[in-house]
């Protein structure tokens, strides 16, 4: 997973590059919490563009980061969900709390290139 922090907007973007399952999720979780605590962002976006697989471990991962970020005064959004990943998140109901955004939007492209 790669992360990048945009100081001006206090925006922290995680690009997840692994398959997300019970095995890989521990590493992603540790890294995400470390960076959220270190940068204290206003907004966290998880980019799923390069995620080729996700099972229910991804639901726990995102709910956990949502709670942690919220505790530190930050919000969480998700970007580039494939139809299968979106289906899994929809089933769990977490999209009611955690909105889908689009990193390809102009407002982001201009900032993050």
């Amino acid at each position: 997973m790669e992360s990048k922090f945009y100081e001006e907007d206090k925006l922290l973007i995680f690009r997840i590059t692994d398959e997300i399952d019970d095995f890989s999720v521990q590493k992603i979780r540790r890294r995400a919490d470390y960076d959220i605590e270190r940068y204290m962002p206003r907004k966290v976006i998880f980019d799923f563009n390069r995620v080729t697989f996700m099972d229910s471990a991804g639901i726990g991962l995102i709910i956990g980061r949502y709670k942690f970020a919220k505790m530190l005064g930050s919000t969480v959004e998700l970007s580039n969900l494939t139809s299968s990943i979106k289906k899994i998140f929809e089933m769990s109901g977490i999209l009611r709390l955690i909105p889908i955004t689009n990193l390809e939007d102009e407002k982001y492209i201009n900032k993050i290139g």
Partner: protein, 172 residues
């Protein structure tokens, strides 16, 4: 003529696709990817769509993860997978000899989990049920759990438009 065409397609399909496989591995979460990729590779003999293959991978990952984290719960054991292809359907059995499930109906309910502290969401069975056509759970406390899943691969018939065999027969 049309009927003959369909008959030949079905006959070819039935005689060609009938296959079985078994897989056993130690209950380590590093094996989850290995298990789902192996079953998906086996299932690809039925010419599934990318989406059907993703559904199978996800359902296998859910059942295997459950054996490892609930069935064996940090102890080491063996997870077994049996899969059978028949005509246009895949059957997958995934089993452990772990602690078993006390109440299967409750365990299957969405959001029900006995491990919320590990960031489990209780959606595993719900995902299996929505991604496969049929999911059956058998379990005996102290003896283990077996999940049996079926999925019909619809792609097979639709994608068999160019039928070489049929053309050969009409020429004769």
């Amino acid at each position: 003529m049309k009927n003959l065409n369909i008959y030949i397609k079905e006959k070819k399909m039935k005689s060609e696709i009938e296959n079985e496989m078994k897989l056993e591995f130690i209950s380590k979460s590093a094996n989850e990817a290995f298990a789902r990729i192996t079953v998906a590779a086996f299932a690809s003999q039925l010419d599934p769509t990318i989406e059907e293959l993703a559904d199978i991978k996800t359902a296998v990952s859910e059942a295997v993860t459950n054996c490892i984290i609930h069935g064996y719960d940090k102890k080491q054991g063996i997870v077994k997978i049996f899969a059978r292809l028949k005509e246009n359907e895949i059957l997958i059995e995934i089993s452990d000899k772990g602690k078993g499930i006390e109440n299967i109906d409750i365990a299957k309910e969405p959001l029900y989990t006995t491990k919320p502290n590990l960031e489990r969401s209780g959606m595993g069975f719900t995902i299996m049920e929505s991604f496969m056509d049929e999911v059956d759970v058998e379990s005996v406390v102290g003896l283990g759990t077996k999940v049996t899943m079926r999925k019909v691969i619809k792609n097979k018939l639709e994608n068999e438009e160019s039928d070489d065999e049929f053309e050969m027969i009409t020429k004769e």
